[in-house]
Symmetry: none
Subunit: 189 residues, 4 copies
DNA sequence: CATGAATGAGCGTTCATTCAT
DNA sequence: AATGAATGAACGCTCATTCAT
């Protein structure tokens, strides 16, 4: 799964060591940008990955490309996670999981919103929206979410609350209480 | 009101021209940081304000001071706005107004979260929290908000949704639909 | 004496308050440059003198002029001190006094050497040289200094040792021991 | 000898081109700081060395590091020079050589005194003091220096006179005459 | 391909100097 | 004459990006 989502998709296949470096860089970048925000230096990423700075730029010609690649990886993970859920509670579960994860994966949201260095991944985001749309439909079919609710506001809440959890430094209790309000708003009266 | 909240409050009164520049810088900074995030350059702020770079630093000795000043101005405005509301619908109105405003004032939230260059205004934030707490109490007394809801999650939702509105570029309809879910979650069942 | 050496010598006479400011600035500058070296800021001098920065520049159009004025004041003091001495030991006494003073008046030497912002005061320095020359002649007449010694090397040693005392942070003992060597070198064999 | 004292001593060996640049920067810095004092700009050093400003900072992360490196280089040279001398006249020779060198190497002393940007090289300075102490002992043993003279005042004179020679712009004759006085002071009566 | 030295635009900040008040 | 706000060149330093090795 890791290998799939990380493999570059255009051009000739990479040599084994190049492929290994690519992943090490992505992992390091995830850590670094998580800890220090998108303003963190690319040198630091290289250092953490144990490669030279030139290697980072060979794999990702600009810093934006690097940020974009991290984001893509995360989106793919999220989409998979969403795809594995279902039923009346699937949407609520996904919502909860995402918010909890966000506490220790600031990148998730910071980048979803193209913070700082602008990044566009409309395609991948589209896939996530589809997956969440599936969960919403199932929940409405099961009667756990009001039929008045539509996908755009669900996505909007998902992103907002996840961002809030990350940047507001919410603890477990605050996360739970906040989600309780949102969930109450989603359920049928 | 604008003049009041922008006047500096310590030291001797500023000369008329200095006071004028101070405001021009704040306005320019608001625009610039809104458009380009807190990483935008102080030079750009000076250029936009039509003053030399030294003038910006004379008024705000560090970039952080400038960011802090903007934030303070905005918080003061918010607190005043909250203070002027009340009754069963006051909290909902304030929520709505804030979210709508945020569409054209990205700074509001971007800075509330002290993104990047750290800014601390605990006192002013505390005042805002108090004001919102007042609105919440009134609403609960009037029976328009469930007694199970507490202030922390209201603040959390306020910040999250406002941020989402800004950075997600929500249009009026999406704002309305998203708030509808949140309000439904706040109201008693 | 103070007033004499500080009065400006060209143009119309100064108003009383201007004259007072001129002296306050010189005193402040002496302190500031003594404490922080010639790199200290002119603002700091103004602050210490209790005047606005514009006033400093009205009296001394450039920073160099200010440094030059301080130096002139000090030279005048030195010349007077030298002029009051005489006899076989006068030169040794002056040497000793200067070195001791320098310990708490770094400016004396720092500026004698036109440190940093170049300053030229050939005229005043000439006067000091003359005064020291007088002391040297008297000492040689009295037989306390070797007839082989000439004025240039005496001045050279004066400046060098004074500088060393200042910047080397010599304590009283080291000053005494170092001067003992120099004096032994000056005396006839 | 030059190459030895200039090679950096920690971390992996530098690439040939980096090593070349490192030396060019040191040489340029020596010139620039000699001509304009420690306040001279790092840009000027880069220009003189024919490299970009970033290269200077890659080799010496702060201006202080650059100043420190120059100083270290010079101290090493001095220590070696002192170490190669000996006998009754060694101290006098070293003194003379140092003073003469200083005429075209202002940095020698300017930095020995850590002017302006503070630099600390206590260890290297200690080595120099030891070397001079050796020369002093030998001279006293040979009877060419009075037993009353101790190391601290010898160092004090060394620094003072060398500084004077540099900043006073002494010509060969003045150097000789001044040293004659100092040497007479050092010799036994 | 990987390396890491070099580049240079750009940033935040300082400060001598000018000039409107 | 005094004030102090405004100016803008210059500085130390960072970092995304390029390219010789």
């Amino acid at each position: 799964m890791e290998e799939v989502s990380s493999r570059q998709t255009e051009g000739p296949p990479l040599r084994a060591d190049a492929q290994r470096n690519r992943i090490r860089i992505l992992v390091a970048a995830d850590e670094v940008f998580t800890e220090n925000g998108p303003g963190a230096s690319t040198e630091e990423v290289a250092r953490r990955a144990g490669v030279a700075i030139g290697t980072v730029f060979r794999h990702f010609p600009t810093k934006g490309d690097l940020l974009g690649a991290i984001m893509k990886r995360l989106l793919v993970e999220l989409i998979e996670s969403a795809g594995q859920r279902g039923g009346g509670e699937g949407l609520f579960e996904f919502f909860t999981e995402l918010t909890a994860q966000a506490s220790y994966k600031r990148t998730v949201v910071g980048l979803l919103e193209s913070g700082g260095t602008a990044v566009r991944l409309p395609e991948a985001v589209g896939h996530l929206t589809e997956a969440v749309g599936g969960l919403l439909s199932e929940a409405q079919a099961a009667g756990t979410v009001s039929p008045d609710v539509a996908l755009p506001e669900v996505m909007a809440l998902l992103v907002s609350v996840t961002h809030g959890a990350v940047h507001g430094g919410w603890d477990a209790e605050l996360r739970e209480r906040t989600l309780a309000v949102v969930f109450a708003g989603l359920r049928p009266r």
